[in-house]
């Protein structure tokens, strides 16, 4: 029941990684925080590689390529509204970017570069134009947020937008967490305390084990949900399940990685800090862990959930009990 990645999609991911690794990886992201205008270099390069033309809804190869491009972007901390733009491309319509929101946001990531954007309110099911009212400005946990306001009501994107956006965001976060895990496990061999690498301490091995399990859990749920999205069978419950796993995994991996690094992992010169700070927007928008769990519970009651012994929708259970 493995679903092999299309070779073309893997090659595409590799070319994205190669293109952005050379100019300096996270160093470039740091430079963009100082000079946000440099983000346009990312957009130009992505355009040259035709990343912006990937259509998740076209076929399996393009869907996989879009997911893997987001993973590559996450691995390298690429400062660009890639998830929002690829979501817009997938659902069609006359917009350049789709942002999932919960109410009216005060800021939106890279909105100043996103072109014509629409805010899709996942709680209320409504859509409005999303208008940048100024350039992106740095805040530590929102490094590229641009101030914004809601405009006129807009045609609502199909519900599929929520799934596509969530899957792509999950792959972006997965990529970032993969880098965090590699950094943490590598550091555990370099750092010596009490005359030996800290890897040799059981407490550190526990940390590494826990972050590995959480990373694998996200990789599995992301792959599963991507497959269902490609087949067109992903439910909203599947989507919120992926988001919840993403939030759980990010929390566990980043916390454990920081503990492995100790004080040096708090320094701005260290890549873990960039990963940690830059992911926070993805983890809070459209909403955080508690709201995601509530949304999932509501969808499970409404739609059920596919397990070996499936959870039936509450209404189906009530009808069966009444009968």
């Amino acid at each position: 029941m493995n679903r092999p990645w299309p070779v073309d999609a893997l090659e595409f991911e590799e070319s994205v990684r190669a293109a952005f690794t050379q100019p300096g990886g996270f160093e470039f992201t740091r430079e963009c925080e100082i000079d946000p205008d440099r983000r346009t270099e990312v957009g130009e390069r992505l355009k040259t590689m035709q990343v912006d033309e990937l259509d998740f809804s076209a076929d399996e190869i393009e869907a996989a390529a879009a997911a893997l491009a987001c993973r590559a972007a996450g691995r390298l901390g690429l400062p660009w509204p890639l998830v929002q733009q690829l979501t817009a491309r997938a659902v069609g319509g006359d917009v350049d970017a789709v942002y999932l929101v919960d109410g009216a946001p005060r800021r939106a990531e890279h909105l100043d570069l996103a072109g014509r954007a629409v805010a899709f309110d996942v709680r209320r099911g409504s859509a409005h134009e999303l208008i940048a009212t100024g350039p992106a400005s740095r805040m530590p946990l929102d490094p590229f947020g641009a101030p914004c306001r809601l405009g006129e009501a807009a045609p609502e994107p199909p519900l599929q937008a929520i799934t596509v956006s969530t899957v792509l965001a999950a792959y972006l976060v997965l990529g970032a967490l993969e880098t965090a895990v590699e950094l943490a496990s590598g550091y555990s061999f370099e750092r010596q305390q009490f005359g030996r690498p800290i890897y040799q301490f059981g407490a550190i091995q526990w940390r590494l084990a826990d972050l590995a399990v959480d990373l694998l859990s996200l990789a599995e749920i992301a792959g599963f949900t991507l497959s269902r999205a490609i087949e067109g069978t992903a439910t909203l419950a599947d989507t919120w399940a992926l988001r919840l796993q993403m939030l759980d995994s990010a929390g566990a991996v980043l916390t454990n990685a920081h503990q492995v690094f100790g004080a040096i992992g708090l320094c701005e010169e260290h890549d873990l800090v960039i990963i940690d700070r830059h992911l926070q927007g993805h983890l809070r928008r459209p909403f955080g862990e508690a709201a995601t769990a509530s949304a999932l519970a509501a969808q499970v009651a409404e739609q059920g959930f596919d397990l070996l012994y499936p959870i039936e929708p509450a209404a189906t259970r009530e009808r069966a009990a009444a009968a």
Binding site: L208, A209, A212, A219, F305, L308, R317
Partner: protein, 387 residues
Amino acid sequence: MTVQPMTFGDDDSVRELRARLRRMIEEDLPADFRGAFIEGDEGQRIANEFCRRLAEEDLLTMSWPREFGGADGSIWAQTALREEMWAHHEPRGAQYMGLNWVGPAIMEFGTEEQRQKHLPAIGGAKSTWCQGFSEPEAGSDLASLRLRARREASGEWRLSGQKIWTSYAALAEWCFLTARSDPAGSKHEGITVFLLPMNRPGVTVRAIDSMLGPHHLNEVFFDDVVATDAEVLGEVDKGWDVIRFVLAHERIGIARYARTERLLAMLAAHLPDEDTGESIEMRTRHARLLVKARAARLMNYRSVAAVAAGTAANGVSAARLRTTLLDQEVAALALEVLGEEGLYDDDAAPAHGYVEGAWRYARSATIASGTSEIQRLLVARELTKGR
């Protein structure tokens, strides 16, 4: 790490098998069946009868190769069988050990004589085995086992020492016994495996009362027990190779996540639907565990796929860790949701006391077959392999 997406989705033959198994379970198992290991003989009687039914349907040894009387079942068919059995309190009773790993170990390492002697009996559910691995001083550190095997001048072996935590020892006719045949070498060397009849003079079983119920835990004492070369499995002093084979089968041999998923499905019907804080808390906890259950099954399937592809079964320990921790979280939620009713095991309790049994058994999830501490060390080792 570029793992390929893993999906559920049985193919037609596995779907048909799963439906067939569920029909058999519904028709042939009492509604209140909660496993073979209960007070009295009724659990054993039901398990023996169910094994006979599986054998009639050529399902008992489905996973075995045809040359040993099996059906060459695909790895996914075997997985479905394990899932359905474990989700319904393993109605094969102690036989699952013989079928899952004793038989395969004898196929792999046994002599022709040993194969002829043991495989038909295991395949027909006519012999019960216990696993003589753990000792008082050799638990997680299994290779430190000290039960001594001395070869006499006559060529016979003499076995002296103790095993502990040995499940089903009082029921078993045979013991898959590990012993220290050469104390001079490193601890992974000098181990020999014996296929020993439990009625051999000098073997004494003492039951240990435990919260898991009868038969799960025993001590077994070996007092100058005679064994022969014909009872040695594999090479003398090379028993660690056999043990590694067994552990690899054992770790993917139990579909623990399947019982957890069934419990989650049962719990859905008992979740409170009010808008109070505690009701909302229970529903969201349940929802969170659904996601973990999905991840656990996918991770287990990853290990199965690796075995099927003949590649290193990376991720087995990670899957096991995720699964066993989940088992305990779900059992804890189940008691929380059912409240006082969750404590009872009589017919008036929800699902005939399924929850209290699941909760007691979940206590052992992170201990049996390799503790979660050891699994974590294995996961960390895998993550840093090659550095």
